[in-house]
């Protein structure tokens, strides 16, 4: 429930982690990791988004119904991206047939 009031230090901690992750994501971009560059960038962005959702948006302390809706958005976004790419990334396979 939203009556759960978090201490301010939680917000400052999350803020510090977000700043550090921003620094990290910029630094990593200047190293050549091949395909891992994109993977690293998206992994850090996903981590940042997760802590914003859990703490700044209080989902960690919300009802199960709110959890279901939040996870639902991730699930449907996953369907959108995964099914789209399963088409586009496999079109070249025809050349082997």
């Amino acid at each position: 429930m939203s009556s759960h009031i978090l201490p301010k230090r939680v917000y400052y901690t999350i803020f510090a982690i977000l700043l550090f992750c921003t620094y990290l994501t910029v630094q990593i971009a200047f190293f050549d990791l091949g395909a891992l560059n994109t993977v690293a960038a998206l992994a850090i962005a996903t981590f940042k988004a997760t802590i914003v959702v859990l703490f700044f948006m209080h989902v960690k302390y919300s009802t199960r119904l709110t959890w279901a809706v939040v996870l639902g958005s991730v699930f449907w976004l996953g369907i959108l991206l995964a099914l789209t790419m399963s088409d586009y990334l496999t079109r070249v396979w025809r050349t082997y047939g």
Binding site: I5, K8, A45, V52, T63, L89
Partner: protein
């Protein structure tokens, strides 16, 4: 207002008649806001899917075009937006404790930071305009990537533009929240308008968290 509910809640003016209690009302508004945010996730999701397709087709053109964006300005804006999320979270905290002056201070800070973000964004747009990087008849780019770089810049302007529109709407919401805080509508018992406005603001921050590396940081090591 039903008499039963009124007896339970002691006639809170913000309690709508179709809810039993303020707690139930807050739960419903929070859930409703999240359902709206799901539609927003998929709204932006369509653009991210478009981005994925074109980047998988033209990775080199995307990397070269991405280099035209200013990493320093992009990083600065990321920090500005994250800081505005902190001030928003602190505004919600102040609202929950009924600290009216602190709440108004943090709302104003959040709006100022949102304004700074939009200011930096317009400087970037202006640079792109001067450099002829607006897709269309006036577009100029090295020959090899001329066509595909336009796709990158189209996505850049649509995605950051839609994001900026959300920021402007967010600042508008903050103005209403500032008014409601000033006139005493917001109290420690009735802070949910601030909370769900905060959800919107944080969502817009999350969109930028993904836009920043995908637009500004592609193949930076190569040059």
């Amino acid at each position: 207002m039903s008499h039963e509910a009124a007896a339970h809640q002691g006639h809170h003016p913000a309690l709508a008649h179709h809810f039993d209690s303020l707690a139930q009302q807050t739960e419903a508004t929070t859930l409703g806001m999240w359902v709206f945010l799901v539609t927003e996730v998929l709204f932006f999701g369509g653009l991210f899917a478009t981005y994925m397709i074109y980047r998988s087709w033209y990775p080199d053109a995307f990397a070269v075009a991405s280099h035209e964006l200013d990493v320093v300005l992009g990083t600065t804006n990321t920090v500005v937006l994250i800081t505005s999320s902190l001030t928003m979270a602190l505004a919600v905290h102040a609202a929950q404790l009924g600290q009216r002056k602190l709440l108004m201070t943090f709302l104003i800070l959040t709006m100022i930071l949102g304004g700074v973000f939009l200011g930096i964004k317009s400087v970037e747009y202006y640079h792109k305009f001067v450099e002829h990087h607006i897709p269309g008849p006036g577009f100029q780019f090295e020959k090899e990537y001329f066509r595909h770089a336009q796709i990158f810049f189209s996505l850049y302007f649509v995605m950051t533009g839609l994001h900026a529109i959300h920021m402007i709407i967010g600042i508008g919401i903050m103005l209403v929240m500032l008014w409601w805080s000033w006139n005493g509508t917001i109290t420690a018992e009735y802070s949910s308008p601030i909370e769900i406005s905060g959800l919107y603001w944080h969502f817009v921050d999350i969109v930028w968290i993904f836009l920043f590396p995908l637009l500004y940081l592609i193949g930076r090591h190569a040059h």
